[in-house]
Amino acid sequence: MRLDLDVPIPEGAQERAHRVAMAAFASYHPAPRRRAYWRPALAIAVVAAIAGVLASPPGRSVIQSIREAVGVKKAQRELFSLPAAGRLLVGSVRGPWVVGQNGSKRLLGAYREASWSPFGRFVVALRGDELVTMEPNGRVHWTLARPALELPAWGGRHADTRIAYLTRRKLRVVAGDGTGDAMRCAGGVAPVLPAWQPGSLSVLAVSAPNGRVQVYNVRDCRLILRTAPGAVPARLAWSSDGRLLLAVAPSALRVYDLRGRVVARDDPSDGTLDGDAAFLPGTHRVAVVRVHGAQSDVSILGSGETLFHVAGTLRQVVPSPDGRWLLLTWPAADQWVFVGTSGAHAIRAVSDIAGQFGGGSFPTVSGWIGK
């Protein structure tokens, strides 16, 4: 018997899968197959060369440029442009703003808790007891009324998406076109923005009130991962290939793999706190803001590499979509500071941030998304 088992492949599905698979492969590191005896010698030579450079006057000036960045005196008064491609979504007392790469700003309206859809084609936000989806130009697509709404998070793929949100601290999920709204899985959750695994319509990370990080397949409510109780994270974020999950609390930072194993951690002590952290897109590197007393350091977790140091308290770290810049927010200085991650220690700063976003309290950056 001959069977016709031809199944048409949905348009774009293979390319979506290709992007995700190649991103996953980008983080694959071949295991060393044989010992190369010349490598330690080369490493020693490189370290010696770097030490020599840093000991030289030009080298010292590089370090100084970081240390003297306190206050960033040469800050621009206006945000003329972003240093990398993409758009920002910024939450202010007047509502969310979309900021273009050329510095253009558009106020979307009197909404709160806005966030991007996975590819930046839409925005979800809250208005009173309504969840509102809209285009980045403010045109509303659909709304959904629910009591005590909090923390909408949009995930999925180009052709199919899901929005997770909290209502009365219960998790609900609705399709990207507003259909199929239903309570899902976790009974009670902490007020932490849920995090969709990139490219997935079903894998979602939430925090329980006792600080456990729980990853569900919301399609069948299968619990994929559950960590030990602890401090409730301030932020949950996936690496772009969806293989690692970052949970940041002031007293503890953890990076988990999909089996729940801790693959990286930071336990600051002596009055130091982890203010914020984020994966650099396309990598498993984590940029972390450590605040100790009245000073802050920005570094790459586990590398010992300090990218920026200020005498002040930084609040957020938001990587550019290409991972080459970090946007650091500095409320006390009313500044945004863009710091390069490539090692060249490029720094650009913009002042009067609160004023540029309608005045009032210092705005919060909800995301920097590619075009």
């Binding site: 069977l3 048409p8 492949i9 949905p10 899968a17 694959y28 295991a31 076109d177 239903a182």
Partner: protein, 169 residues
């Protein structure tokens, strides 16, 4: 000149050494059938994408440990089929109405041939062996080895599955 199997071994070797182009070649060669296989077992396009994607994640995770003397396809297909069966069983146990799959820009679904539509009536276990036999071209013995089943079970599932399909014509 290297045939497809020779190509595949070279791609696996290259991917293990970190070559993105070789991994991409493996992806291009195997993703379409991974998706089709998953779809024919679960009959859910989004789930099929997830399953095919998870299979390639598994491939990346286990690339270092993969025995390059063995063919890549059967190893990948085994992951896809087992995950697809698991997914279908869980859905059946729940008896749950799924979230609507329609998204912002989703095109109307096209499920393919009549046979594909009729396969929905079979159990996931029956669908799996039929797909492995008639889409992927494995022999009953190979299916038995890949799924860890007695060969007689594979043969009976094939026979019953095909009989049920005929009855529904």
């Amino acid at each position: 000149m290297a045939g497809p199997k020779g190509d595949e071994r070279a791609w696996v070797r290259g991917a293990q050494a970190g070559s993105a182009s070789d991994f991409e070649a493996l992806f291009r060669a195997h993703w379409p059938n991974a998706y089709r296989t998953a779809y024919l077992v679960v009959h859910d396009a989004a789930a099929a994408e997830d399953i095919a994607q998870e299979a390639f994640f598994a491939a990346v995770r286990n690339l270092d440990r993969f025995d390059r003397r063995r063919p890549f396809g059967p190893w990948l297909h085994r992951i896809v089929v087992n995950r697809a069966i698991d997914w279908s069983r869980r859905r059946a146990l729940r008896g749950e109405v799924e979230l609507h799959e329609s998204g912002v820009e989703q095109a109307p679904p096209d499920v393919g041939s009549d046979t594909v539509t009729r396969m929905r009536e079979l159990s996931p276990e029956h669908r799996a062996v039929i797909v492995m036999r008639h889409l992927l071209g494995y022999t009953p013995g190979e299916i038995a080895r890949l799924l860890g089943l007695p060969r007689g079970t594979v043969n009976s599932r094939l026979r019953r599955g095909l009989d049920q399909l005929k009855e529904r014509v």
